[in-house]
């Protein structure tokens, strides 16, 4: 029988890739939970994408860093996107969840979207005729999300996200729902039918990548530290030469010790 060796270091090594497979399986099960989550009227509304791999995760992280610049003046926004880009890089996989019914109201006139005016408030703002929204028509291309969206569907979306997270918890996989990841994922074309997407990076590692975050985390994180160590290590070698074939400098230490012993 073949044996499977799992260890999380070094990243993307065969043993680490084997370990990641467990998290990817959990992502599939989280998707099941999102599909079966309670929802208003039981109406199908959820779609998902599971994304993993170094280049794929890097692409998402870079999109997040690009989006961070769109609100440069909002320091918390900028931090969120920059820090969470690191989390995406450190994750085993990313699960994207979208709700493709957000532009199709539940039509109970609940007033969640506009406070007053029932579903008409929504339809008027979507330029609808006969209660039909042209979902292919982007009204505010400059906005991150082309709102408004139906409030009842949003709560259903929350139920799907919550259900997926609950499965991750039960299966001992760290997961965190992030708007930054979702917005970046939507811009990259994940969950293509949905106007709003939530990104859930997941990880089955010794240390959760999503909590205990340092200030300026985009600078002070493990990947940067490893990079710094590699750099320093090379520089140290380059400036402290040693002719190891003709000079056993450490032997001098041993000799020093033995001379000390003789003196006692």
């Amino acid at each position: 029988m073949p044996e499977i060796y799992l260890e999380e270091w070094p990243p993307y090594s065969p043993n680490d890739l084997e370990r990641r497979n467990g998290a990817i399986e959990v992502a599939r099960l989280m998707m099941n939970a999102a599909f079966t989550a309670p929802k208003a009227g039981g109406v199908p509304q959820v779609e998902g994408h599971i994304v993993w791999g170094q280049s794929e995760q890097e692409r998402i992280a870079r999109k997040m860093e690009e989006l961070a610049q769109s609100r440069r003046s909002n320091r918390l926004w900028w931090n969120m996107f920059k820090y969470e880009a690191v989390m995406v890089r450190e994750s085993d996989a990313v699960l994207f969840l979208g709700n493709y019914q957000l532009f199709r109201p539940f039509e109970t006139g609940c007033n969640l979207c506009g406070g007053v005016g029932g579903c008409q408030w929504f339809y008027e703002r979507k330029g609808a005729h006969f209660g039909q929204v042209d979902v292919s028509e982007v009204q505010h291309p400059e906005w991150l999300i082309d709102g408004p969206v139906c409030g009842i569907r949003l709560q259903g979306f929350g139920l799907a996200v919550g259900s997926a997270l609950e499965v991750a918890t039960r299966l001992h996989v760290d997961a965190r729902p992030l708007s930054s990841v979702g917005i970046a994922g939507q811009k990259l074309g994940y969950c293509p039918k949905s106007p709003m997407v939530v990104g859930i990076p997941i990880a089955a590692q010794s240390k959760s990548p999503y909590v205990d975050i340092l200030p300026d985390y985009h600078i002070y994180n493990l990947s940067r530290y490893v990079d710094a160590i590699r750099r320093q290590h090379v520089i140290t070698r380059m400036v402290h030469w040693f002719d190891y074939r003709n000079w056993d400098v450490m032997a001098e230490l041993e000799q020093g010790k033995s001379e000390e012993g003789e003196g006692k």
Partner: protein, 285 residues
């Protein structure tokens, strides 16, 4: 050693499960980290006014009819559920400054301005189950909290379902005063599929009534060829020989008069329950 009736004991423990569900709702991961989750638990006879209002609404709502009959069945069996209300209070103001547009406004500031402007109008609505407008990301977080409460109940193998109509009537009569949106999570009774296959609804309608419901719910499924302008309707086996045609008709004035009368009855129940709740809350202080 005592001997216990297991079913009775389990029924009595529903309140404990509601406690755990509350913990789960508050513990649910949030995207915003800003949503203030609120809960209230309704038990025993305090559920009855909710059933009473649903009974009135049942005349015009198939949803209310189903939930009314289910609560009635549970009461008559001596197995009322425990109702956990899960809501949130700070949804109408957005301090995130994400300016994402999901709410329909280009900035959070514009959203907040509109939200403040419309508050007076919202407060005058006669029936208000959810107070909008709301920040989209916060609504999503509230949904997750509801889900975690429900999942906690499932972990205990407790029959449960989130029911919008019960939230609506609970909100009407004065529960969850501070909450701007939410849902009612019915926990128990100790029976199977109470809120799904609904044994309580067995024999409540005839085959003909069932078909008439389908006609209304999915009219296009029963429509004949539209070439004759008013298409024929497949109301029964004789639909072709003795045709009936689709025609849009307004509701009668009597229908609306009856609804207005029912709304007055609901107002009276709300006033009665609100007075009782106020006294209870003052007693709790």
């Amino acid at each position: 050693m005592g001997i216990y009736n297991g079913n009775k004991l389990a029924q009595e423990n529903l309140l404990d499960v509601a406690r755990y569900c509350t913990m789960a709702a508050v513990k649910a991961p949030q995207i915003t980290g800003k949503v203030n989750i609120l809960t209230e638990i309704i038990t025993e006879e305090d559920i009855d006014p909710l059933e009473e209002i649903l009974g009135i609404q049942a005349k015009t709502s198939i949803v209310a009819e189903g939930d009314y009959n289910t609560l009635k069945y549970c009461r008559e069996e001596g197995l009322r559920p425990v109702i956990l209300l899960v809501g949130a209070s700070n949804l109408r103001h957005c301090e995130l400054e994400w300016d994402c547009g999901a709410c329909g406004f280009s900035t959070c500031e514009e959203f907040n301005k509109y939200s403040d402007e419309v508050k007076a109008e919202v407060s005058k609505l006669r029936r208000c189950y959810h107070l909008g407008p709301q920040c989209s990301w916060k609504q999503l977080d509230l949904g997750s909290a509801m889900c975690w409460a429900s999942a906690a109940a499932a972990e205990f193998n407790v029959e449960n379902r989130m029911i919008a109509s019960i939230w609506n009537v609970a909100k009407l009569v004065g529960y969850m005063e501070q909450a701007e949106s939410g849902a009612a999570l019915c926990l128990g009774p100790i029976k199977n599929l109470i809120y799904y296959d609904r044994p309580s609804l067995r024999g409540k309608w005839t085959a003909q009534e069932h078909m008439e419901f389908l006609f209304r719910a999915m009219p296009s499924h029963f429509m004949g060829f539209t070439g004759a302008k008013d298409p024929r309707f497949k109301y029964g086996d004789e639909w072709e020989k003795k045709p009936k045609r689709v025609h849009i008709a307004p509701r009668s004035e009597e229908y609306f008069a009856e609804i207005a009368e029912d709304e007055n009855k609901i107002d009276q129940i709300c006033a009665r329950v609100k007075a009782g709740l106020k006294a209870k809350r003052e007693g709790n202080k």
